[in-house]
């Protein structure tokens, strides 16, 4: 199964997501990238992230995304 970093790199291959603590402030993810990310996370981990959970703070860095997935019972 693909890791979160693999998925992020698939969306924005030009960035090193392991090296950033704030994807939004560093300009690595925009609002549409977040939607693409949610679509990929839903499909990869067979979950349904709720629309109301699609907030910038849930996608700011790897830890935030891991915390969101944990709410859906996924350890990644």
């Amino acid at each position: 199964m693909k890791s979160i970093l693999d998925i992020l790199s698939g969306i924005r291959p030009e960035f090193d997501f392991a090296a950033s603590q704030d994807y939004l402030a560093d300009g690595m993810l925009d609002s549409f990238d977040m939607l693409a990310l949610v679509s990929d996370l839903d499909r990869t981990f067979s979950i349904r992230i709720e629309g109301s959970e699609i907030l910038p703070e849930n996608f700011r860095n790897l830890a935030a995304i891991q915390a969101l997935l944990a709410k859906h019972g996924v350890t990644a």
């Binding site: 969306i11 925009d30 609002s31 939607l35 693409a36 679509s39 709720e50 629309g51 109301s52």
Partner: protein
């Protein structure tokens, strides 16, 4: 607020779509984004093609073509309606109202209540409520509701956040009295504090259009637009819809004392496929009951998307039988509203192109 109406029905529906169809893959290079990212967006949001007016086509042009079609086909008499409600954000002029332009161009009677409403993606519902209220007057036996926008003329072609999803269209809905006096339940909320989430900043009197407001600037996400163009805070709008719409639908059904299973179709505004999928998941609505295919075929035409979703997906069925329908609109203002009513059988439900090719 809760609204209740009695004894009203939708009698017929016609949509008018510009014949000019543009493909997303042909437009990708006008955005300052790598093709791979744009293709990903296409896959997630459902962008594929959209209908746009050519040149200086205005709302009244689409409307006149639609009404002339109804007159020519014998679906409506020229004197067969007593009110004309026009819901648009892209009027022909600042004044007079576009309803008067249409009345004059069609040579309609003077005993006609002409009314323009500045509304967007909830505009079909707002128009229905106004029609229902006008029909309380004995002199008003039938209302023609025109939802129409040519928003492509106010969106920067280099704004990837908005241009790919925009579509131009019009819909004429005839509304009249019904013998069925069962209550029609609706609800409505508005929030002007969030008005800047969807806005055309310049071009009105607060910030008149000028050489300066026509100059395009690049935003933080790489979109190029001017202050004369539509600007949409995509994240704010997405969060607004996902937060406010599900409880609104649940409150509507609770007010009506009914539940999801009895509803045959959920006809929601069509912003993009992803947003609708997330709403359907939250509300546990089966996808076959909730069309989400308008943006990929025609683009998002603001207040026209609900009647367009109906005509495109259900036109044969709604001319044959009565469906229990929930309408849901949400957008500029901000405005969010929903309505539960019996729908059909309609006298007609048609789609035509503009200009028509015979």
């Amino acid at each position: 607020m809760k609204l209740v109406f009695h004894g009203k029905r939708i009698e017929g529906l016609l949509t008018v779509l510009p014949a000019n169809e543009r493909l997303f893959v042909d437009e990708m290079d006008q955005f300052d984004f790598p093709r791979g990212r744009s293709l990903k967006l296409k896959e997630v949001m459902g962008y594929d093609r959209h209908r746009l007016v050519d040149g200086d086509v205005c709302v009244s042009d689409l409307a006149v073509a639609g009404f002339e079609h109804l007159f020519a086909q014998g679906l409506l008499d020229r004197d067969g309606f007593d009110a004309l409600i026009v819901v648009t954000q892209t009027p022909d002029h600042l004044m007079p109202a576009t309803s008067f332009v249409i009345q004059g161009r069609l040579g309609l009677k003077q005993d006609l209540f002409c009314l323009d409403i500045n509304q967007g993606c909830a505009g079909f519902l707002i128009g229905l409520y106004e029609a229902f209220m006008l029909l309380e007057q004995p002199a008003i036996r039938r209302v023609a509701l025109l939802n129409a926008d040519v928003m492509s003329r106010k969106v920067s072609p280099r704004d990837r956040n908005s241009y790919p999803l925009i579509g131009d269209a019009a819909a004429i809905t005839l509304i009249g009295q019904s013998d069925d006096n069962a209550p029609i339940h609706a609800n409505l909320k508005m929030d002007g504090r969030r008005r800047e989430a969807l806005m055309i900043p310049a071009g009105g009197l607060r910030e008149p259009s000028s050489e300066e407001t026509r100059v395009a600037h690049t935003d933080a996400e790489g979109n190029l637009r001017a202050r004369d163009d539509l600007v949409m805070d995509g994240s704010a709008v997405f969060n607004f819809v996902q937060t406010e719409v599900p409880p609104m639908i649940e409150a509507l059904l609770a007010s009506a004392g009914t539940h999801m299973a009895v509803v045959d179709t959920f006809l929601f505004h069509q912003p993009n496929r992803f947003m609708l999928q997330k709403l359907a998941e939250k509300l546990q609505i089966p996808c076959e009951k909730m069309p989400s295919n308008v943006v990929e075929h025609f683009g998002n035409s603001s207040g026209v998307t609900i009647p367009l979703a109906l005509a495109f997906n259900l036109r044969e069925r709604v001319c044959r039988e009565t469906l229990t329908a929930v309408f849901g609109g949400f957008g500029v203002g901000l405005t969010w509203s929903s309505l539960l009513m019996p729908l059909g059988p309609l006298a007609f439900c048609e789609m035509i192109d503009y200009p028509q090719v015979n």
